[in-house]
Amino acid sequence: MRFSGTRDAATEPPSPLCGERENASRKNGRAGSSLPLYLTLLLAILFHTLPAQAGQLGRAGLEKHFPPPLVVGEKDDTLPVWPILKQQAGSYEVFAYAFESVDLAPIPGFGGTPPDLLVALAPDGTFRDVKVISQHEPVFLEGLGPEPLIAFVEQYAGLSARQAIRVGRPNARAGGAAPQTTVDGISMATASTRVINQSILASALTVARGKLGFGATNVGLKVEAKPDLYERLSLPDLLARGWVRRLTVTGATAATAFKGTGVEDRVDGPPDTVLTDLYVAYLDAPSIGRNLLGEARFDALMRELGPGNHAVMVLSAGPEDAPANPIGERFVLGAVPDRLAVSQGGLIVTARDMAVERRDAGLAEGLPPGNWTILRIDQAAGFDPSAPWTLTETIVRERGQILSEKIARTFPVETALPADLFTRIKPDAGPSWTDPWRARAPELGLIGLALAVLVPVLARQRGLVADGPRFAAFRLGFLTLTLGFIGWFAQAQLSIVTLVGLVRAAATTHDLAFLLYDPPSLVLWAFALAALVVWGRGTFCGWLCPFGALQEFVALVARPLRIRQVAVPPGLDRVLRQAKYGVLAGILLAAAAGSPLADSFSEIEPFKTAVTLYFVRSWPFVAYATGLLVLNLVVYKGFCRYLCPLGASLALLGRVRILDWIPRRAECGTPCQLCKVRCRYGAIAPSGRIDYPECFQCMDCVTIIHDPGQCVPQVLAHKRGRRSAPHPVGAA
């Protein structure tokens, strides 16, 4: 299901850069077929800046998402936020603040373009709803399709933006993860779901800060008491240090607080009569909790509490039957007490009685007798015991006999514990890029190993390469690894989609972090680029491209089936070879112009169909990919040589190659044409020169040149009784 939105011209910011955009299209029109010009053009695009993304829904679009009786209010003029209102008794109430994540937190996704989510945040910070407006995540565009993503964002409804929400494993919630702070992830889409989670949370916090008065601190904060830090302290010690606090309300203090209400004098006896006498203690710190509760009881409590949560004890040592006693007979076990509240930074923190077994309480000696409660504060509440917090007691008095009116006064006591009792774990600034690197370490290791084997084999040409049959076996083995492991298993088929992402990042988002979430691909990119500089594009195209390997395997059946290659006339061949540069330019220009066409153009690559999705895809895509494989039977690797935009980009960048490393002999070209004829890629010129941008480094010609039985100049020399040494010859 796609969400469509109408573009509201009135709300679009004027684009000061539209002049430059025209400029870019003029460049496009002028682009000819000369390669250096392509390169300049590519750089020009990379350094071009275009207006950043903006939300696409206008009033009409929002009204579709928030139909009557909800009312879409006038857009805010300080933040790109639409109030969604509900009419009630002639007045309006705020139902939600609606906004598009891309306006507030444009975090580039896996395709390089930020996803756009419509978020509705209730005034209390609860997500009312999250919907997908647009997204360019490759896995959700094709792959899995958008449905899992739509189901994914539905999980946010009812969660609170006051808590850091993390993406768990699939079915994490069913598996016991905290349902208030976890959403179920989607397998194969870990990186994309993290980006979407981050877009939702970051935009919601911006709105919360601007409109709801929270979001500045404490979201996702994890502060825990150090469990090993223990010091034997008596209650007087603890009181002296302020680690246990005492709140005493006397008749006089109450009278002052209720002054002017008519209910100030409710106490018989002298003004210093104690109404309530509360001891307040944060228990998680062993130096407090263990000393107050005793070791066994403290350990039992900590087990029940669970890591990261907090326990606050309140003991009422005042007269038990006094109406002011907050832990008197009207206290409800297991409930959030109505007369005691924990707050921090002006915000109430939910603290619920733990209903701990009262009998045989076994409290440590020194605590006065009295009713007590242990209040549990969930970690998700963002409570920070290392910062000052307040326990507030409320005393309620009734005025009037018949239509009595309740008058409440509050009595706070603040606790400030030293920070060194605690470990503070800062909330995640964003999705952690280190996770995928750790999780995929085994795959990275195997890929590293494969590269470590490949490099010396290619570099030492008198070794394995010179041994025709064994080298052929090695090559088949390596390509099997490339297709089966790198491609199908590790999902590390490099693709033009990454370049599209780079261009979009350069043009609009200026954020390349998305690359970090796919470690195997990034490692292969790094290797491919390094090899490009030294040896040329062929190292990747001939050895590490899974689709290339697949074509090579398919081509193996050509001979047994007696399928013969079609000879492409040299003139046509020259033209077709240029076609891939045109394809590349089209895709990159579309990406630079911010056009979604770049995603469609990228489908000229069959990689997603054949490798990423194992051919499980709608039939036109499968037919196209299969067609290319069939074409490969008669025009060997025709896709690679004529169409592949990734190969084109590597060939362009490979112009910086340092080494002319494929060995040649003086006789190559004149008079010997053997290698030229045998080269299945047409990468050897009649002059004998290697055309490196077209060379796939299959090493066939290297094997020949080192084989005294095949290399014609060597055969002739042998006949004449001389030796002939091959040596690299300049390519140009």
Binding site: D76, P83, L85, S91, E93, F411
Partner: protein
């Protein structure tokens, strides 16, 4: 005198239920109205939003839907302009800057109009209405956060910084004496209603109902019935205590329930500039007047002045009328 400096912690309660179609419409009534309005060739457009820290709603009626939409857009722009001039909810408004710096050159014209009116009303009421009560707000808010009232000594010290004569309004400069700060929250919503109505008139809109927190109406409902303004019971906002019908002109209500510091509503956002405490006698005051600015200012002044002196004040202004609700 309304303080209410900073973003109010509590959302504004319904003080007046707007009637006319906007409120009364059950579904049946709406259908009936649509039939009637369609036969008359009239359309009604309402646009709601947030301004002055509360919800607002503008309703305009006429024959041309596009013109109505343009008028509503301009109406909101008018409110935004008033906010930019004098809203304390915006740290960058001209008034916020004036409070921060103690002086402001080339002040925003809206700010000048509002301040000139406020100072004149302060003079007329002998300081019962005073725009300089703003320093009381943080003192009360801080005390309320502790669940207490400010200490008498603290209030006394603050009262020394209050007084409308501590403001100098010149055509091109406003100057405050040290420690003085202004609030125009007592008059800003009424003035905004005036500005919205002016914007509507610029579009040739004759029938309109405006809720900027205070109310304004002109003409009639397109179904031919007059606009009706319901006054909510201050102690039970869901019930209507009275209905003004027909309602044209402007109405403003000040009450003790809107933003209060104590549950018994003894302490709320309206301060008596003489004592620093909230005036005790009235629960709410509603004033109707030819301009929103006047209605809004008079209603706040009446809260402080009480029933008798308030009635005398209103009687001195042509076209103005007042209703009082005593504290229960």
């Amino acid at each position: 005198m309304s303080g209410g400096g900073h973003p109010r912690p509590a959302r504004r309660r319904i003080l007046v239920g707007a009637a006319g179609l906007a409120a009364a419409a059950g579904l049946g009534g709406l259908a009936a109205f649509r039939a009637a309005a369609a036969s008359a060739g009239l359309t009604l457009r309402t646009r709601a939003g947030l301004a002055f820290g509360t919800t607002v709603a503008l309703t305009a009626a006429g024959g041309d839907a596009a013109r109505l939409e343009a008028a509503l857009t301009d109406g909101f722009a008018a409110m935004r302009a008033v906010e930019v001039a004098a809203s304390l909810f915006r740290p960058d408004s001209a008034l916020s800057r004036l409070n921060r710096d103690g002086a402001l050159d080339a002040p925003d014209p809206h700010l000048v109009v509002l301040l000139r009116f406020a100072l004149a009303l302060a003079a007329e009421t002998g300081g019962a209405f005073d725009p300089t009560v703003q320093p009381l707000w943080p003192v009360w808010a801080a005390a309320a956060a502790r669940g207490a009232r400010p200490a008498a000594g603290v209030l006394h010290a603050v009262l020394g910084r209050i007084g409308w004569r501590r403001v100098r309004l010149e055509p091109d400069r406003i100057t405050l004496e040290p420690g003085t700060a202004l609030t125009l929250n007592a008059v800003i919503q009424g003035y905004a209603a005036d500005r919205v109505m002016a914007a509507f008139r610029g579009h040739g809109i004759e029938d309109a109902f405006v809720d900027t927190g205070e109310f304004g109406a002109s003409g009639a409902h397109p179904d031919g019935s007059p606009w009706r303004l319901g006054l909510a019971d201050p102690r039970d906002p869901a019930t209507l205590a009275a209905v003004i019908a027909p309602f044209t002109g402007f109405a403003a209500t000040s009450g003790d329930y809107n933003m209060r510091f104590s549950d018994d509503r003894a302490d709320h956002h309206i301060f008596d500039p003489a004592t620093g405490y909230s005036p005790g006698a009235l629960s709410s005051v509603t004033v109707t007047a030819p301009t929103g600015l006047l209605a809004d200012g008079l209603s706040t002044a009446c809260m402080v002045l009480g029933r008798e002196r308030g009635a005398r004040l209103v009687a001195g202004h042509a076209g103005a009328a007042v209703r009082f609700t005593d504290k229960a």
